[in-house]
Symmetry: C2
Subunit: 262 residues, 2 copies
DNA sequence: AACACTGTTTCGGCTACTGAAACCAAAAGG
DNA sequence: CCTTTTGGTTTCAGTAGCCGAAACAGTGTT
């Protein structure tokens, strides 16, 4: 499997321009660890200090990175706001999902999320947060595994077979006791998800979090996203689960229709 | 002489990695013109097709760019959401201003904006939109001139002298009939703004838009941002202007206090 | 005052970036 | 249905400019 990855890398590597790749990587690292210095970032990205300094300098000129002149420390720049905002605006999926997520989070009083698959990762592309003071923290744009959690498993269940195989044959990290770390068990779950049209996942990524998710389809019927609700298991009483489940399902079909309609 | 040349070299080319710079530029261009093809972007960025293709390919691998496989067209990727979101979260200025902007837009029923200066440009870093159906479109993260509009002029008025000189001696583009395109007149206005502690600007960037702005100061008393309200001039009745003005002023001082407090 | 630490600058070698041009695939047009 | 055009992908060789190493310069610390 390492071979496969290397093969793939080699195949694509010809068109990757490495300094740009490193710059992109550094931006993403900086997003996760703000207020870092040159040395710190150099270590985090495995680059030399010189290169790190030059990358930061270059990105700063474009406003994507901001330097605190006193503390000698770097943060994402304001120009990055444009990228995030425009990315959101440019996505038809996000804009049509937005009101549905708002409604869903209001009905269930929990976080409502929209996720898509990117290669072998899940990425959350929109959130409406629970109105309750106790709620799960979730950030837009962050990558997560495909084999754990409600939304991710829905995405994996409807992913092309080669992706499923690749994920299953990889290391299935166990985040909690209830994580699925066995390939066969995972495959069964995926079949179940396809049969049920939704999934309820409890404590897979974090012991105190549950999530209910259902697939979102485009006009061809292909699954392009997962709609999910997550919240603290403490709030998961008997009756509420059914309510959440049906709310998620109706929201997902409604969103699918809106996407297919036009 | 020699110094000047050295200075110029230092500022222009010294530590900039050109491929990274071009990549950053391309991302920003892509943000403004989504769904573009390789050729189109190559023209827009003045790069060759090959380079454009390779840049896009590289950025795509990092999720910052997304390719529509059917239409052969590129858009910002979902990973850009992370950059925008984290940039917002990481800014103390934005997070403290947010509730104030919300309140201000609710009181005035117009857009409430927060702007900062970046080099010789103004950039809007936060917006709360008017609840009215008719409202000014404004995007976060976009750059604008310093010499036209309420917020920008406040920023320019409190900018270091070299910035003022540089802006004034440059080409003062006239966007409307009411734009200030004369250097001396602009300088007078700036003095007036500093004396008044706020500014009312009507029809400078667009004939149908007014704006009221006031400076935001940090704990040292330095002006670090401008708080502004803008809306359609059609809604600018006699009495309302005073209300808007006082709302902006109280909001700006409140924000300054909150920033200075800690 | 010496030290430790991080950010900045220099410099030569040589990688890997670059532009030009060929090559394809798909759409437009006749 | 063939031709033309347009736009995306791939190849290739030359050398621009990237890169790491190491010296240097600030800043805070013991």
């Amino acid at each position: 499997m390492v071979e496969a990855i290397e093969e793939k890398n080699k195949k694509n590597a010809s068109y990757v321009i490495s300094s740009v790749d490193r710059a992109a990587h550094m931006l993403l690292v900086l997003a996760e660890s703000p207020d870092s210095g040159v040395t710190e970032l150099a270590e985090a990205t495995q680059n030399t200090k010189s290169l790190t300094f030059r990358l930061l300098h270059t990105l700063e000129r474009r406003g994507l990175v901001r330097k605190d002149p006193e503390r000698r420390t770097y943060t994402l720049g304001y120009r990055a706001l444009l990228l995030g905002d425009q990315s959101r605006r440019q996505s038809r999926l996000i804009s049509t999902a937005d009101p549905i997520l708002a409604e869903l989070s209001q009905i269930t009083r929990e976080n409502a999320l929209l996720l898509v698959r990117e290669d072998q990762k899940a990425i959350c592309i929109a959130i409406h947060e629970s109105p309750e003071p106790l709620r799960i923290f979730a950030a837009v744009g962050r990558l997560g595994p495909l084999h754990a959690g409600g939304g991710p498993k829905v995405l994996l269940a409807h992913a092309p077979e080669e992706v499923q195989q690749s994920v299953i044959s990889g290391a299935l990290e166990a985040f909690t006791e209830d994580s699925i770390s066995d390939g066969d068990a995972l495959m069964e779950t995926l079949d179940q998800i396809k049969a049920d049209g939704h999934v309820v996942s409890v404590g897979e990524l974090d012991p105190n979090i549950f999530s209910v998710a259902a697939p979102v389809r485009d006009h061809t019927g292909a699954v392009i996203a997962a709609l999910a609700v997550n919240g603290p298991t403490a709030r998961l009483a008997e009756g509420t689960l059914d309510n959440v489940r049906s709310a998620v399902l109706t929201s997902a079909t409604k969103l699918s229709q809106m996407l297919g309609g036009q």
